[in-house]
């Protein structure tokens, strides 16, 4: 198992979670575990300055920022 921290900073939800996930977990698994999967198109997930996509693999002790997806203005 790996441990992944989620810092959720969405207008509709603010929460910090620590998830236990299988070794081969991808971002989409973490979002399902955190009950964010319905909003997959609506969030940016950033790890160490890099935006992740749904199939990106996670590693132990990853810290993920979950932010609203925007187009700017």
């Amino acid at each position: 198992m790996i441990s992944v921290a989620l810092d959720i900073r969405l207008p509709w939800r603010r929460e910090k979670l620590v998830l236990s996930l299988p070794e081969n977990a991808a971002l989409k698994d973490a979002l399902v575990a955190a009950d964010i999967s319905d909003h997959l198109e609506l969030v940016f997930v950033v790890r160490a300055n890099c935006m992740l996509h749904a199939d990106d693999m996670l590693a132990n002790d990853d810290v993920l920022l979950v932010l609203p997806a925007m187009l700017g203005g």
């Binding site: 900073r9 207008p11 509709w12 909003h39 198109e41 609506l42 940016f44 950033v46 300055n49 890099c50 935006m51 996509h53 920022l65 932010l67 609203p68 997806a69 925007m70 187009l71 700017g72 203005g73």
Partner: protein
Amino acid sequence: MAAILRIDLETRTISRRELESHELLLGGRQLTSTLVAAEVPPQCEPLGKRNKLVLACGPLAGTLVSCANRLSIGAKSPLTGGIKESNAGGMTGYMMGRLGLRAVVLEGKPAVPGWTLIRLSASGVELLDGNDYVGLGVMEKARRLFERFGSKTALTLIGPAGERLQLAAGIANTDPDGEPSRYNGRGGLGAVMGSKGVQGIVYDIADVPKETFVDRDAFMEAHREVGKRINSSPQTAQVYRTYGTAAMMDATSAMGALPTRNFSTGSFEGYEKINAEAMHKLILERGGDGAVSHACMVGCLVKCSNIFPDSEGRKLCSPVEYENLGLLGSNLGLDNLDTIARLNRMCNDLGYDTIEMGAALGVAMEMGLASFGDSEGALRLMREVGEGTSLGRILGSGAGITGKVLGCTRVPVAKNQALAAYDPRAVKGVGVTYAVSPQGADHTAGNTVKSPVKQHLKDGQETVSRNAQVGFTVMDNLGMCILCSGGLGDLGVVTDLLKARWGVETTVETVRRQAWETVLLEREFNRKAGFTPAHDQLPEFFRDEPNPANGQVFDVPDEAMQTVYSETPL
């Protein structure tokens, strides 16, 4: 009924041509760029008599469909030297649609220096004396014009920037509250309007008949579907409506994409003082005129705009948006919302593009004319711009000229136009757009921040830039706001609206193909104006200096960038 109105400011003649049936869906950027490409000599002087300023609304303008009343303005740009289209919200696109106009073309140049005010109404076109308004700020000019013509009119105006033919001059449009702060900001188009001697356009729809539809029932059904989609999407109904575009800042700062201290890094230590939540909280605390959500166009359901009040609760600036927080805030090292709003208001009142001015001030700060983070220094420089001092005129000529005059080699421009608030070392696809787009550095030409690609890697960026350019141009051509696209989803509902309004069938595929043809047409205009692949570049420092926030340089190869227009988008 939809027509193209032409006003020759040299001969003071007016002509009007109704669109033919096969032209009824032409609008927005497609129409401005088509007319400019066909009628403006590519190598002409942008501030001379051969350039034309084309104002065009979309084919749904004049209705209450959400987000469908943008006003595109196009010309040969005095800032970039290439073709330009910049679009804005406000009431003017709606008014043009109600007046049965799809485009207004300003041609020629006054034979005798002087200023004209144009009034469009049910009774026709009037060319009025505009000399009484010279030198006024945009807000005072709007106040006097509303007093003269009535508060139910709408206005398109230039400010002192446009009168001075400054390369950073934009064109203001009034919003539903009469606030003249909806800008066709980019490309120096305000200077083109100034070169025509036109102070402004007054749109008056009193006594104009109600809009007509080929199939009203079908139109209303599709209209309701648009509303349902926008109101049920968390992005449009929650994020944009609650926090506005400023909600982007958390993500860009986290990714290292937030321009900070003249693009010297991409994360700003003070971002939490100026982000969407900080602004939202401050607006609610201050109350008064303040509003966290506000529609810039009639019928808009997204309402991503806001009204930022001062400490007494009086309206200070509307709106304060992400790009302005980035360029006038973090890019200047400023973490004070009041200072940013004041700078924003000064730009709006003087008639300057906030992005261009934020970049120019950043260059000036880098060269020691003020310190990063110095609120008073930034305001002092903006006051020089307003007073039209020698330094102010240089700053008002944009970041590129400011950099050349001050001897700065770190100047964030492409085709001489300032980059928007996305560092191309962190969002490399938008870096490709900045470099190659015929529009110059312009995030609205193809922002890739949501594209399915690793934003910080060089691979695949030309592809996502190409696809984003099509997607954004589709919305520009339709006269629709890009910010509703997330909630709108499939554009079939828009083709349903077009058919019900005009009786003309089209498909999403056709709309996308025409969007790509628009971009290629613009590219061809620029080639004839003298642009070559050598101009499709970002400033060298983005390739040489790693962004401290993510360790990345801009490393998309030139060869890859040159393939953007040689392949067909998905």
